[in-house]
Symmetry: C2
Subunit: 310 residues, 2 copies
């Protein structure tokens, strides 16, 4: 990331997205089964490519670059960061594929397209999700790349915890256990810390690991990740009632219809909107406290999370 | 593993199983969601504990011990081997949970008990499988354990490849793509190399990695793993037509009823039985060629794979 006054978030984001899209295009393949089971790679690519805001990969890259700007060892770790960026996106993509299935949310529209199980059938959707989770760990452990095995191990550790029972999957299970039941605010927060927050925060921390961050920077970025992780979900709940399906690219109002507890149902709409802005301020404070000097991309990403329209 | 003439496979196996069962009991937990979503840990434990032959964990431990007997550094790597043993079992267990679901094999009986989705519902079964896959990688990357990060990274690399599109999940997809269609013998073999063979072979190789095996030993154990991986499936197909459901602990004859291509349908029953014994001889030769001196547990496991009744 260039220092100085001329930083343009739009330029930074376009370059970062270009790298991520090209890497996903290259890495989300399944050559061993392309002949005998072509639907598996097709469904994996359908789930991952050509759609999505790529928020998690952008957080990985922004965090890594902020740390590298401090410590200075860009070349060695940018490959690791790109792999980590794609790995978190694969975990996110697999979770959407499985969540959309009839036995979960039974949703037919995602990013303006038919969901994977609608397009490829439930069995292929199930397998594609499973294969995407495994592929995430494959990307983190390349056979012939110059990535320090210590970094590889730490990235796998972080991703497994963010994705599993103490992270995303656990949050989903809490969500599932409370459909049609009310949740106290603290319980709702706990659910979202796991369901959405863990992987968003994990993305930031994985970026920091790739950037050889010191403990002080890691602590600051961890707090930043917690704040934007929560903000993301609060805004999601707000958009579920204020936006329409065309803007969202998915079915609007579905949480309300499914009688799921949300921030809006728990706190009300205006208080939820205020809370999202409070979390943005917390994220910005965490960055100031991190000791990192170049945090403009991370700041802009936090604003994007809170001010997005879909 | 003790050297000399007094080796008892039954004693070895009882001790190894005891270690594995205790470790699974201790590690398959989800404390972060135990209060708010108790069904997730319950379903995870239901899927993993109190059942299963534990063949994959036994292969990990036997391979590690054979290599350690050669190189001699038992203490440092037995913790890694136990973690790897449990990790491969979690991958195996998650694959059974997902395979049994209505959109896949729609099976209601497994190890003599109702399948996970019958007991806990499809949504929890889906999430429990997902969480078990993530937990496998968590076990391989402990936060405060004295396991060399280089070993951690190599184990994650091996497991991700054995489980994913180029291994188990890819083999499942090939299987799915060929229900009701005939397969040439080479295609059938390719399917099973991925579907069942990759994780069995991966278990052996992960054990070798934990045991600091030299390249010659790894090559021998890789060939051994390939032979028993294939033998396992051939025997599975034979048992599907020769055993009853009570003996198998799962629905007998289901592959034949589902019109799936099997070794029996492709080669005939007697030729399949002969082929299984040919593969046993190949596995034994691979062990002799490995340069490893203490391979009696691995030999006995190969015989168990081919001579098992369920």
């Amino acid at each position: 990331m260039p220092g100085g006054a001329e930083f343009s978030f739009a330029t930074w984001m376009a370059a970062a997205l270009s790298k991520v899209e090209q890497a996903l295009e290259r890495w989300v393949v399944a050559p061993q089964v392309a002949q005998m089971a072509p639907d598996l790679p097709r469904a994996m690519r359908y789930a991952v490519l050509d759609g999505g805001k790529r928020l998690r990969p952008l957080l990985v890259l922004a965090a890594q670059e902020a740390c590298v700007a401090q410590a200075g060892t860009l070349g060695a770790t940018s490959e690791a960061a790109l792999r980590a960026a794609c790995a978190v996106e694969l975990i996110h993509a697999y979770s959407l594929v499985h969540d959309d299935m009839p036995c979960m949310d039974n949703d037919v529209l995602r990013r303006g397209k038919p969901t994977v199980h609608v397009e490829f059938g439930q069995a292929t959707a199930l397998l594609a999700g499973d294969a995407l989770q495994a592929l995430a760990f494959e990307l983190l452990t390349p056979a012939e790349q110059d990535i320090d095995p210590v970094i590889q191990a730490r990235l796998c550790a972080q991703l497994a915890r963010a994705a599993g029972h103490g992270g995303m999957a656990g949050g989903q299970a809490i969500d599932l256990a409370h459909v049609g039941r009310s949740l106290k605010r603290a319980e709702l927060q706990r659910m979202h810390e796991l369901k959405t927050g863990a992987l968003l925060q994990g993305s930031v921390v994985m970026g920091a690991l790739c950037g050889a961050a010191d403990a002080h920077a890691v602590a600051g970025l961890t707090a930043y990740g917690a704040a934007i992780g929560l903000a993301f979900q609060v805004v999601d709940d707000v958009l579920d009632v204020t936006a329409d399906s065309a803007t969202l690219g998915k079915t609007a109002g579905k949480d309300a219809h499914a009688n799921k507890p949300t921030y809006v149902s728990t706190m009300g709409l205006q208080a939820s909107q205020r809370y999202a802005h409070t979390l943005l301020l917390q994220a910005e404070k965490a960055l100031r406290d991190s000791g990192l000097r170049e945090t403009r991309a991370l700041q802009a990403l936090a604003r994007m999370v809170v001010e997005r329209a879909h």
